[in-house]
Symmetry: C2
Amino acid sequence: MKVLLVYAHPESRSLNGALRDFIVSHLQERGHHVQVSDLYAMGWKPTIDAADFLGHDPTERLDVVAASKHAYASGTQARDIEAEQQKLLWADTLLLQFPLWWFSMPAILKGWVERVYAYGFGYGVGEHSLQKWGERYGEGTFFGKRAMVITTTGGWDSHYSARGINGAIEDLLFPINHGILFYAGFDVLPPFVIYRTGFMTPERFEQARGELASKLDQLESARPISFRRQNGGDYEVPSLVLKEGIGEAKHGLRIHEQ
Amino acid sequence: MKVLLVYAHPESRSLNGALRDFIVSHLQERGHHVQVSDLYAMGWKPTIDAADFLGHDPTERLDVVAASKHAYASGTQARDIEAEQQKLLWADTLLLQFPLWWFSMPAILKGWVERVYAYGFGYGVGEHSLQKWGERYGEGTFFGKRAMVITTTGGWDSHYSARGINGAIEDLLFPINHGILFYAGFDVLPPFVIYRTGFMTPERFEQARGELASKLDQLESARPISFRRQNGGDYEVPSLVLKEGIGEAKHGLRIHEQ
């Protein structure tokens, strides 16, 4: 495999730092190629703005979508954006590793998505009309590639269970797994989550590392989350509402899984 | 009212910029006090890191939670964090205004939450033990205050409806409304959302502005989302799972509403 690990934590001497090092060495030992985008260490610019579009006249009104489309098509994106896009094209597998902060990804990683997912690359791919709403949700630039979230939480697993107070982890990660990864074509594997990080013992760390190793060993074979493809016939176009009778035995966000 | 409007958009000459100006002038005309945190214009630092904690020795391992707790308690937070905390304490009403990017808030606003919500302020409030899991989800620093999300999307309302492909807007906003706002004690009003921003006509803008005006006029009287309070008796402690029989007629994330 060619694996891109996008890693967002400010401290290398942390649980997340140890997991990152383990992921890299474990994959390399098995003969896989790994690139790491260590966003904090790179000093990644987290905010999308006019400076990202080299041809943009700063006195002109900034339309982010139009500017992104133009810069991507004309090769006038900021260099750091292009470099990340090249890594994504190189990789067949994407890992997003981060601590779950406020039930989502850290700002620096969110900004990586906002900047790297240019129009024509991460979105705006394929025909956009009233007959076809683009190539997204199961199609797009990353079709045929796989992705997985690796995250850590202070809260307990029960707090993130189906009836836990924080909301089910699958629902909290839906905007990422479905809205960012599957959206752009990735097959998305169930996430790897370590809970209760404030009470990490050597024994628990050993166990978590073993479970992570086995997830990594199954990256190519594990069954992805069965999100429904936008253009697979389950949704009306252009309303993009599930057709009558589809998913009616399911509830909440789970209706978007087969 | 004393309203804090936290606004995250890179271009003032935009739909969001026009809405921001309208919100400020409409509230002021009615005699309310408004402060605006215009994050892009302020050059807000979006990433939490060691520089946020003035007493932190850069050669020491950074534990974000411990550093945040210490800096908040000892008055050694970065000045820009303190300034935002003061605005939150001043306000009785918080508005978060942003374009929905990748089904969540822009990175710069996420970073505002991560940095301003210090331990002891936005979380880590109240007794934390196996008998009581803090004052959060309906209690906390912002108890008695109200908050509302104002957001815009390129997608259509049907795409964000109960069976729409993007996921129901309520579910996508749950990590913000429940996990950030209600978590820290705010009563959270249903969001104001403008869909299909790529097809904005003068007529649609007029209509949206009228609807927004009426939402603003009801900020003090509208009924908040009826999220269940953590310490209101519906959840087991410390598992924080809904007690048997509670919310069983509801589905998905909606089980956390009464």
